[in-house]
Amino acid sequence: MTNERFEIILTTDRTMMSDHHGKEFIGFMTTGPPIGMPEFLWMWIAAPKMKTDRLGRPWQAPYAMRKLEALLQDHGYNAAIIDPDHLHKHLDHARILMLSHHDYFALCPPSSEWWLVTKQEPVNARSFRRLMEKPEIRRAKKNGLKIIVGGPAGWQWLYRVNLWEKWGVDTVVDGEGERIVLDLVEKVYSGEPLPRYVFVGPNDVPMIEEIPRIKHASVNGLIEIMRGCPRHCKFCSVTLRPLRYIPLDMIEDEILVNVKEGVKGGILHSEDVLLYGARGLRLNPDALIKLHKLARKHLKTIAWAHASLAAIKNAEEEYGLISKLREIICEDGVQDYWGVEVGVETGSVKLAKKIMPAKAAPYPAEKWPDVVEDAFAIMHENNLIPAATLILGLPEEKPDDVLRTAELLDRLKPYRSLIVPMFFVPMGALKDKDWFTTFKVSDEHIEVMRRCLWHSVKWGEEIMNRFYLRGPSKFPVKLMLKLFLRYVRWKVRSYEEKMGWKPLIAEAPVIRS
């Protein structure tokens, strides 16, 4: 029988502890402030509450937290993930509270960018603040609760030391958590002082055998298939860690955990799904086909977390692999599209060569814009719907580089996709509480942002009408999203008129069926 008095509680705020109506992409709305509607409505669309059991254990929880929960339970600790609305049931007798987040203070793109553009704090940071100020956490802290925070946004605490102190966070961990977390827990249990900060370097990341298997469902069935990335882009920390492919039996086990708990869809997570089993950058079609057949066998719907555009082009041109994977994914008409995040980053060859020389590989970096367009065409033809990102404001960027990106966006008009520009905010700027009021956006940046916006509004409506949120139960959310897109269209058009800008809507993408 489970001991119902958990000593180690893992949690996060509502923007993370939600399945976003089963659509990861809707989760992106948590990175913005509420626009054109009250915050509660925005939150209802972006991050609805998660179903829980009597003890407040959520039906689905973020995958990384599930890993730590499993690790702690495997080592005999009475640990559980608890939904943020149910913390009061446990904190009075808990010893450790562990928190994880993708963006604690909205300092990562696209949150930082929404903040910059709207001058309003995004809902993820607001929601996290509300969590930390809950009376049950404050009370437990006074009574000796240890608070350990980590996750991909652990580094952000270095920019909010005042809150680190105010909220009584004992330790901040930056990096993969498996090896350090048991050390920290043992220190608490043996009454030793905790370190204030730990950065887990590439030598201390876990090997495959040290990575535990999740025991309960992850948000939207997300399952990790590999860690690391061999492309060595300059601005990326993932690439510093060793490459590790998760074996198929472990992937299958985790898929079955989700399916057994009623999560029928799955997201294959990797920085580049198409590199699963690859030898360097040489694709491994067999491994990919096996992986997808396995996923198809158990899952109702399949999505990809990320893929690189070069691998998409290479996979199709050399092996016809995107079409083959489409056949597997869309077998028997169970689904007719699938989603993925891709990084366009820049349209400038000069910048691409400097900051991401291997991103186009096996094609030369000089061909980057062509690689992007070809990959978009392949995705369009195969109903693979990308949510693409661009990076603006890179340290060595010149106005001409931004214009090259605008040109590339014009080439991408005919292809079904959402394109989100992200600002590279220099780390130095973030330390200032009001950083977003001093950061300067150039005219060229505005041009690119407008192109992205009109592209995404136009294609967003098409995607919503043809593919997204089907079935009567999804109708209210679909309606709200449609109204939101209409509101954005109206708002931006009136702003453009006010500024005397030539309307870009006239150049909006041709919808190809």
């Binding site: 499993a70 690790l71 339970q73 495997d74 080592h75 005999g76 600790y77 270095l158 920019y159 030391v161 680190w164 102190e165 990096g175 498996e178 090896r179 350090i180 048991l182 050390d183 920290l184 220190k187 002082p193 370190p195 204030r196 900060y197 730990v198 950065f199 887990v200 370097g201 590439p202 030598n203 201390d204 876990p206 055998e209 040290e210 990575i211 535990p212 298997r213 920390s237 510093l240 780390m427 330390k431």
Partner: protein, 131 residues
Amino acid sequence: MEGFQLTTTVESVLGQSFSEVWIVGELGEDMVEALKRIVRNRMFGGVKRLKLIFYLSNPEDLNYLNLLRPVLLENVSMSIVVEERPVKSLLDDARLIKDEVNVIIGKMVSAELVKAIELSRDRLKVVEIHD
């Protein structure tokens, strides 16, 4: 802790050996460059793990982390652990160490303590003094 089944064995991070640097007293702006230099040298010298221990008069005050931020961001390849200890425990700690430790002396450190550190030069090697 009864009745569980250990399915994953995991190596410890904190149980590994760390190269240590002790920073005694308050951290000042002028010490940031010295610390950055140390971090860079260790990193390029192939050190895998570095521990920065701050001996502070008020270990509850986390303000020093604001100055430490650019130092920590210099690093990409080492595991780094930051700890705080009360300045009064420094000499006791010094008695327990096996290998020589580099020490940076910061602001507001009493003359007696500086002298005591210098007297422990077989174990504590003062590499910078900022007063």
